[in-house]
Symmetry: D2
Subunit: 333 residues, 4 copies
């Protein structure tokens, strides 16, 4: 019974069907009908005109956005636990040609707006110091916390104040939308976000994420950088089709709600063991090594986050009977 | 009736089945059973121990190999019509951090060994000039020509003589093997090739190419550069599975033979119109604008290569009745 | 008797005096009075408002300019014999983060305007090909040829037509001005040049070149790239002072005239041996190995340019009696 | 009376003489006799065979060393107040093609050995995290503290344990040697240092620093990177000559002792105001805004380091009567 990672889950049936439908003779690269429909589909979803790219990884989505928002000699403010800092092998440095990540602190991997003010304030405005040029937050965060639209807007206000490009890593954006019950528009461009990495793979996709540009002036630059970094697949239709399938009838939201529901149910079982509230599909749970071993002996698989702490992740296809078994097992510890 | 590009063809049935089979709960990144089998499968095929990566584009395969073989301050000798020079948006410069492509000439996009000697000889061995460090050939070439094992070995000899890393862009390697009837081993590592971009997408795959390292010492470096360039997909199983499916029972070779057969048949029809012999699945055909228009009026789609020249490309799934119709139409011009 | 390289000559007395005068307690980096006077001094010389930097090498001047004019994914059109291609160890690739040099041909290392048109015309306007974004010419060229103001303007017209940034490598700009007798303004910004590497070191300076920005909007970017590439010396006054000393009373022009005069005198002696006309301070002279040996036996030092060709270079301080001796010796061959 | 920065001081007489002596006709780049003597001179000083480069800035020395010791995908451990992090405009990211600086804490900008162990221990040994590959310390530090040979060796031990390249930024190395009274060898290669940026400019030089390679295998790589980054001056003799002049009769050490002596005298006057002990030529002194204003009114110039703290810097040529005046003025506050 896997509670290890949402990357371990299969693709959902609609995605598999879409792949099959796209398996025809058509134009190469992004000249096919599916790729051509992406802009409109996301513009509908976000209630404004956007430009959208399929890419094959979240790292590519994040780093193309960052490279469009920050020059090589600038710095990107981000949380010290952000995926771009912790888990992308230095990809931001590669795509931006050496821009720096300036690391901020904050509970649950959320950035307090004041931390931005303070970090910018510490930098002398001269040619010797690296000047902050962009800002990246993750929603839902790497610790399963989510920003409300108002919280994103408060950060967006800081970005405007200090003239910082504003990127959101939305590897679990669907889970944040599902938890907050606020609109995709409110959580992004209305709050000042210029580029969003919109994750599908963890949420029932196969191998396509989307990069959404609310600042459509960035389109030309991202288009060429995507090709130049080897991310323009020659049969792009399979990527576009799976994304469109997940947008249809808000499947992306249904999947995220299912994962969140499972997480919420586990959260209730964990009670005081929760180190952070459950606001998406990840739980960080205080647990001794013996307790963890006992759960594993009962067939549950999960990640040891650190001494005395485990991480549980639920997926779009989580078997609810297994969830209930785990909840019960945790209560019985 | 499409003779425009092999990237326009669908994925073949075995690939679609493999994708379906891989659609299960399993380990993320390349921890799944399919990814774990790649090294062994390619080691069998090449009759030596190799390390193999799935990547999503040929550009990524080429440029990861080049970055492993050439330092930022070196140059890569290649043909002036090579894909890495003409069609990758400067990706080699990006992945290598600024290494230079030194361009060689040769009929049909093939590099004569003497051209390597000459190019290296022109460079002063001092710190002011960029020193050649690697060499990249394409087999089959961008003009549908193929190198024999002996020809590759002659180039490999030059690479050894001048201490150049040796990469082969095999976007259509299958077509070259099919045409030459020589073994994958003879056409690569036995001839000195250290890294091969082994193409599957144009040959019936969906969205996975392979990068094969014969120089297995390069593995660690390529592994981290692949992640750092955003090319480590979180659900790698779909990539690995489709490649394995094409290796099974030499499907890759059957597909290439089918495409080559169609091309050969068209080649006979073209006769003196052929600007180059047919040695893979591409034809470069002398044709006036009026003649091209006439063929298009009959429903045939293809690419205008230049004034008075068109390019025809056949695919693994080319309908032979359509091929015969086109052959007939060309004869009737 | 050295006719080998103008880099071998000493610094001229005024420069040595200026270094001495600047040897005082003052502000660091470019906060000193000499550095602060550069903009005004060059604005006077060029009869327009410019921004000027001291840098320590021509390579730095060239590559900072190119990096300001061309994005990483663009290409820079230049002559195949240009210093940036032949003698800078790939520095343009380093400073631009991988931009490509597209090489043009032309007699005497001069670029014919039509070659620019043709090179741009060969590039498809799509995301697969590297798009030309900048253009660099050298005046005087690496072969001692010079462009007239009208010739520069014709190239500038091409730059405007194709929206290319326009850089001039003026390592021997003084020699070109001296030969042409046209104004610095006419030879640069009035002809469309946006950035000029203005050489002083070969012309009697010690270790400072100037980078002149006619497009003053580039100032902020170049300023930060200069620091980021390690080219902001902490005691900049010595660089600024030597440049100012050479601008005083047109010393730069006097020095260049002296070198050109020596070259012209040698040119007359060479007669039909000249492979190119003498338009600056370099001569490319047809000469057999035996003849060259004979001159060397008489104490003349110079560079073997290639089989049957030698290069003679004259300097600001060339001893005219030695020049006459060499002239005589060449006549006597 | 300037106590603002050692970069504001003039070059010392021996350096000016050396510049004058080197002002002759000779070989270009580093083919002159002065440049050719550097290796031997530094090998003598360090009692082992070293390779030495002149470079024009400390940033260049630091970043060439770092780029030789750390691949683009690695990280460099350094103090959060290190010059490479705080004052080089992101140059390490530029020269290393995007390597990351991992920031450590420690009093007085000194790195405790345990902090290295801890930082390395936090990194998972997988492809997702950036692996530490190099380590850089500054001696004397940016806060005027110095490491003893034993302290450097303890850090060197950590470098060996974790397979980290080991660089020392010695912008004020002379001051550290003078304060510690230990040999240059003991403070560097005997303690595991592989590359040293040896500063001369702050210590009475004009515009040349040295980069010393104890790991002589790095020579070829640094040589080409130095050229490629525009740091190979065409008249290198002026750089080499001034460095040699400072090595003669240990002038570098005499100059540093003079500066340290002045600092020590001020330190005594500061007493409890000292926020850190005086171990080189910089003092960090607790002082109210009113007190600072009072000193300035008496003609003393210095830097406001932060609220309630000023920085005093002494130079090789500090007028001791001015030092005594400042000491007296501080005592009288």
């Amino acid at each position: 019974m896997r509670f290890f990672s949402d990357n371990a889950a299969p693709a959902c049936p609609a995605v598999m069907d879409a792949i099959q439908s796209a398996n025809c003779q058509t134009a190469a690269y992004d000249g096919d009908e599916w790729s051509q429909r992406l802009d409109a589909a996301f513009s509908d979803l976000f209630e404004t005109e956007v430009r959208a790219f399929w890419v094959t990884t979240g790292t590519a989505a994040n780093c193309l956005a960052l490279a469009a928002l920050c020059p090589p000699h600038g710095s990107i403010l981000t949380h010290e636990m952000a995926h771009i800092e912790q888990d992308e092998a230095g990809a931001p440095g590669f795509f931006t040609h050496g821009a720096k990540l300036t690391l901020l602190e904050g509970k649950g991997a959320k950035i307090p707006p004041a931390a931005i003010d303070e970090a910018v304030g510490r930098v002398r405005k001269d040619v010797h110091q690296v000047q902050p040029r962009a800002l990246s937050i993750t929603n839902a965060t790497e610790y399963g916390q989510s920003y409300s639209a108002a919280e994103v807007a408060a950060i967006g206000e800081m970005a405007r104040k200090h003239d910082l490009g504003f990127h959101m890593d939305g590897a679990r954006f669907a889970n944040a939308v599902a938890f907050r019950g606020e609109s995709p528009a409110d959580l992004t461009w209305k709050a000042g976000v210029q580029a969003l990495s919109f994750g599908f793979i963890k949420n029932g996709g196969m191998n396509a994420e989307a990069l959404i540009l609310f600042d459509t002036d960035l389109y030309g630059l991202v288009e060429v950088m995507k090709k130049r970094s080897g991310h323009l697949s020659s049969k792009g239709r399979y990527a576009a089709a799976q994304i469109l399938a997940m947008l249809d009838d808000d499947l992306w939201l249904d999947n995220a709600r299912a994962a969140n529901r499972a997480a919420a149910l586990l959260g209730e079982a964990c009670g005081n063991r929760l180190n952070l509230p459950v606001e998406a599909n990840e739980l960080f749970v205080a647990m001794s090594a013996d307790e963890a071993a006992s759960l594993r002996a009962q067939g549950f698989d999960f990640y040891d986050w650190g001494p005395g702490e485990v991480r549980l992740v639920t997926s779009w296809n989580q078997d609810m009977s297994e969830v209930e078994k785990l909840a019960e097992a945790i209560r019985s510890l």
